[in-house]
Symmetry: C2
Subunit: 757 residues, 2 copies
């Protein structure tokens, strides 16, 4: 004990992993009796196996050629991946779905006035970078699920093209009606930009990558540095995934051979106006030709021009035609059957399709997943047996719209509803900090594991410690620091959308995590031909040490979930999170009201009048009726119930452990079933207002953010849209969902107590 | 009364000037009996006279040719101005001083490695702009008071070249020792940049105008718009004015024929290393050639490059030679003698010398001053007689280093000490908002007058209302708004340096105001050949309506100060300000300590280690000894005394008024003398640490900011420099000064009470 005390005094009290804590880890949450020690042995064996050398070799192979949906190399990769799983002892197969995946037939963008300029729409090869020369196999630069179109109109610059930007345009007295808008990438899912432009009357949409956001403003451009070169283009889907992701023709069901398909014209997730992504090299002449008011300061990028808003005198012609074909997506699915609870599934996924060569996105994540599978296969050979069934999924078709994962979840909806314990996702992987987003019932588990995995760049520091210390380093003020220091666990992010977890958490209500490292390497090759092995090896995690760290973090998470007597869900993390969400809603309501009151005052007292330049147009907003504050008491009561149930489950879980030692594993089955139910309880059959595919009442991507999460989305978005009566109604619905969740947690607590008797 | 109440209900309660308030203005602060009504009559007559047409004509004339110190047109302007004063009935003369004013003999800046490039150092004429063609008369682009030099060295980019930037360089492990630095203009008086570079071991300094700060990033460049074109250069002085301004060879005394002059080598205000300003056109090849780490985000400008810090591989050669001549500066001084208190002087000034044609800077201010003088002359003809002596000063030689005003104040130091009541300055004038900085004993007067002058762009709104409403519009948060709404007066700015008030307030302790309109037009022609009539008439206050507003504001201020029975100084404004300064010092001390503690923690807990990228160099700072908080109790006591004395003066002033009606004017003479003394009491004979010329203990330009004010500078800068023992010592000194000030205010209160009996 003395030694521990001395160490505790020497190393400061903050989040370093002390010897005392290490000793405590012999008690692993969810493992009873001596199962913890055995688990730790197997985990140690597992974590020693993932090999950076293998990951480098795998990346070289999988990213060797363009491998988008429907391409020959994508198919070849799926077969190679299947063979690996099989070689490593997994029960693996390929599941194929046929989905709508448009590809370009004709693309033209030209400035026709006041001068003439034809956009290149072509990324040039880079000397030294071999795969950038594979132009014949590369998908042209385009946005998937743009409609065909042929439009000519004056141009208007709309900044990021998000709702706030249209408010600014209204103040400037500028309409996009009948115009073609040009928006820069960033600050929203890209599909939001044409959607909003259409809602405001625009007839076409151009999206470009401003050098301020991922070009020379950030750092040296490729191949001198990692950032986007002048002609680099971000491809990408503009599917209206905020309505539903996956195949546009088969919402809610797997796009298998028997699926009933919508007619193309009835698909609700295809954009309404033609949209095309371009490089900043192509954007410069267009933006330079704009007149009208000078863009507001936060609208200005890093091009060497004065940014103007327009409309005109720049006039552009945009013509796009696509092949509207069905293409196959090949999900590679591999299983290790559970020894004790085979009907409880722990699922892991990462996609393997890319927009072009896709080394960072997604192969950096895929090779980590493959090394996990190889390593688990190896310890399986050595005698390790997971209690639950483990399913590894190498998804196809993520890039166009989460096609592979969504169709699979829809196809297996009923099974998943009763069997799935959790889904663990990864995607892009890079150098830097552990990032984890997900269901807050898994927050405690994530923290525990993050403290066990060493950071490859920082000797003697775990990835969890590094995460916490970096959060402290980036805290904005002493209050934020104090708050961070007071927290037992680092708070994981909330899941929005943008990768394959979406169908699992948002539609099927399966507890999910999205893991990845990043935040250090930077770069501007996202969805371009330059996201390849040459780039990755020069500017990112070339030695694949963060690939290994990812495999260690995720593999350990899978084992902990699959091997535990009772899955280590922590509902206090969940109830704390829900309490936080409700507090945020209250604050949002207060802020909206205060802003409306303030704006009314600005109008009435002449504050706008005083502070505007009479030589510049400014349109006064209209005064608004200020509503009464919302009544959040139903949510307050629900949070209270949830906190009580979480507390009672936790104490059953904690107290139960010693008494549970001698009880045979099988008696926890009912607990597992109850736990599986708890996450499903967050769903409603009706789903969110206007988008029934999204059934989770706690997390969803925003209807006007796309990637960005909205927690308690039905209430939050009603407030944001100033729909006060709907907000009140949704408060009641969500409160009911949370009360049901509390009941299920109480049931699980009782089951756990019974199991321990 | 009903009508008033109705209006009060209709127009909201905030700062609109109500009828009730207007009625109250019949009582003018400092005017007793019926003197107020007479004053208002004269002021109304005065305010009707200033004519935009005259100002336009005067600007066309005065800015017709380059008119820098020592130029023929500068001389010609002085004579023309003199003739005007005389024509308008003023007792006017020219006072000439001979001062050191270096001009370029040779300028060379070349990139010699890795490629060769010779900087143009020349502003091209602009078609349509006639005066931009007067190249023979234009001063070349240069920084006055750079030494001669011939240096060749690797280049280092130092952002704005202020102290924080050198801290950042230290963290990056980059030294400027033996290097030539390139800094961008902004965030400090330009002389601070070579000074700090020299202190850190650099051997040369280049200063450029980044397009982000006043070029195309801000708006269209000249002649399409008002902003700085690619080859535009900001000339300017780099004299070490934070030590003393004025002639470098005659510190503290007027540079008249008899003055003893220092040898050039002994002058303390000439820079130590050669320094040259350049355009962004010339800067681009230099910055583009830099290697080393990518500049931190807030170091990046708007050039279309990745900003690197260096050092090298860019290597530059800088060679500069100057004519080190004495040149004459011609101050034009005009008087209207006071009728009642001729020995109490109210002084007004604006310079007329420019760097080139100088339309906005300073002719826009000079033409307002001239219209004030003409208008005062006209009402004088009509019978108006100021009680106090009014002195109008058209300064020469402001641009190189406040030469004309400083030498005049030094020459007339003894007279000013006993006679000067206040000094009112202006300089640049532009479109927009009334800006006022100055001695806080004048804050109440400024507010009163600002509410009386209509804003020329905003019908029915005074310039004071517009100022207050714009402050509200720009408030960052509801708390700031609430605070602003609760304030009776808008708070005027604190005076730093940068114009001719400096010798008055900082050296001679004369209550000063600096007035100007601005904040709306913008532009990037400061100190370039493009600051001319063509530019001003197209992009700024072409109709001279803000010229007229300035003349109305300043002329009314002059009349109010010169005509009042007792000058309307308000010491509650002063004592509130001092209380605020002391609170800021306490907060600064607390913040410094908290930052040191936090940084020590960052080092010890590994927060720096966790949050840095191992592929990039980062030098850990050393841990620091954290001091005890300073004892501010002497200042607290002094503030208490000051507030009490201010209150007792104010109640004597308020209560005295009715009783004073019948007392003859002459009996206030002793009050006036006491009041004059109060501002002088803020001086100490020893001045500020290391710079005895600066004697004012309340206001000074910062030793490392140059323009930027430091209030209670001796204490504040000791804290900033972490010199805790000196801070304690200075707290005692300043507390003594404030106690003395309180005593003098009490004496003035007694004198006022006696005068009223």
């Amino acid at each position: 004990m003395r030694r521990v005390a001395l160490l505790m005094a020497l190393i400061c009290c903050f989040p370093l992993l002390t010897i005392g804590q290490q000793e405590e880890q012999a008690k692993l949450a969810g493992f009873f009796g001596n199962s913890a020690a055995s688990e730790q042995d197997w985990e140690q064996k597992f974590r020693a196996i993932p090999s950076p050398q293998n990951m480098i070799a795998d990346m070289k192979l999988l990213a060797a050629r363009p491998h988008h949906v429907g391409s020959p190399y994508d198919k070849q990769n799926s077969e190679w991946i299947l063979a690996q799983y099989k070689k490593w002892g997994w029960d693996a197969h390929i599941e194929t779905f046929n989905v709508l995946f448009p590809t370009p037939k004709f693309r033209l963008l030209e400035l026709i006035s006041p001068t003439h300029f034809v956009a290149k729409l072509q990324e040039p090869p880079v000397p030294g970078d071999p795969t950038s020369y594979q132009q014949k196999e590369q998908l042209p630069t385009y946005n998937a699920y743009s409609p065909d179109g042929d439009v000519t109109a004056p141009l208007v610059y709309v900044n990021y093209g998000v709702p706030d930007d249209y408010d600014t345009l209204a103040r400037l007295g500028i309409s996009v009606k009948g115009a073609i808008v040009i928006a820069r990438y960033g600050h929203s899912w890209r599909g939001i930009k044409p959607k909003l432009a259409h809602e405001h009357g625009a007839i076409g949409c151009i999206i470009y990558s401003d050098p301020r956001d991922d070009g020379y403003y950030q750092g040296d451009v490729y191949p001198k540095g990692p950032w986007r070169p002048s002609e680099g283009v971000q491809r990408g889907s503009v599917m209206k995934m905020e309505i539903y992701p996956g195949d546009p023709l088969t919402p809610g069901v797997g796009a298998d051979a028997h699926a009933k398909r919508l007619a193309l014209k009835d698909a609700k997730t295809i954009e309404d106006i033609p949209v095309l992504p371009i490089s900043y090299g192509d954007a410069l002449p267009l933006l330079k030709a704009l007149g009208g008011p000078v863009a507001p300061p936060d609208w200005r990028g890093a091009l060497p021009i004065t940014y103007h808003v327009g409309p005109g005198p720049a006039k552009v012609h945009l013509k796009l035609q696509f092949n509207w074909d069905l293409k196959p997506v090949h999900d590679v699915i591999a299983k290790l059957a559970g020894s004790t609870y085979p009907d409880e599934w722990v699922i892991r996924g990462n996609h393997y399709d890319g927009w072009v060569n896709g080394a960072q996105d997604p192969i950096a994540g895929q090779v980590a997943l493959l090394e996990e599978a190889r390593s688990l296969g190896e310890i399986y050979q050595q005698g390790w047996r997971p209690k639950r069934t483990i399913i590894y999924c190498s998804w196809d078709g993520e890039e166009p719209g989460l096609l592979g994962s969504t169709e699979w979840v829809e196809e297996h909806g009923d099974e998943l509803a009763t069997h799935a314990v959790a889904y663990i996702n990864s995607d892009v992987n890079s150098r830097g900090y552990l990032e984890a987003e997900g269901s807050h019932s898994l927050e405690s588990l994530i923290n525990t594991i993050a403290d066990e995995i060493p950071d490859p760049e920082k000797e003697g520091m775990s990835v969890g410690q590094r995460h916490r210390l970096a959060e402290l380093a980036h805290a904005q003020n002493p209050e934020e620091r104090k708050k961070l220091e007071s927290e037992k666990n680092f708070i994981i992010g909330d899941l929005g959308s943008g990768s394959d977890y979406s169908a699992f958490i948002d539609h099927a209500g399966i507890a999910s995590i999205n893991y990845g490292f990043g935040g250090e390497a930077g770069g501007g090759i996202y969805h371009s031909v330059y996201d390849d092995y040459y780039w990755f090896s020069h500017f990112d995690d070339g030695p694949e040490v963060y690939g290994r760290a990812l495999a260690q973090v995720v593999g350990t998470t899978m084992m902990r979930l699959a091997d535990s007597d009772v899955p280590p869900l922590d509902f206090t993390g969940l109830s704390d999170a829900v309490g936080r969400f409700v507090d945020e809603l209250k604050k949002l309501d207060k802020t909206e009201i205060a802003q409306m009151e303030w704006q009314n005052k600005e109008i009435q007292d002449g504050i706008f009048t005083a502070s505007t330049d009479p030589t510049k147009k400014f349109v006064l907003p209209a005064t608004e009726d200020v509503p009464q504050p919302l009544d959040f008491s139903p949510l307050d009561s629900a949070v209270k119930s949830l906190k009580q149930s979480a507390q009672s489950y936790q104490s059953a879980f904690d107290k139960g452990a010693p008494g549970l030692v001698s009880v045979p594993g099988a008696s926890f089955e009912v607990v597992g079933e109850d736990l599986i139910k708890t996450e499903r309880d967050l769903l409603t059959q009706e789903g969110l207002p206007g988008r029934p595919w999204y059934k989770n009442q706690l997390y969803a991507p925003g209807i006007y953010t796309g990637y960005g999460v909205k927690t308690i989305p039905a209430v939050r978005e009603a407030i944001e849209q100033k729909n006060w009566s709907q907000a009140t109604e949704e408060i009641g619905i969500v409160a009911g969902v949370l009360q049901k969740e509390a009941d299920s947690i109480n049931a699980a607590a009782s089951a756990l107590q019974s199991a321990g008797q």
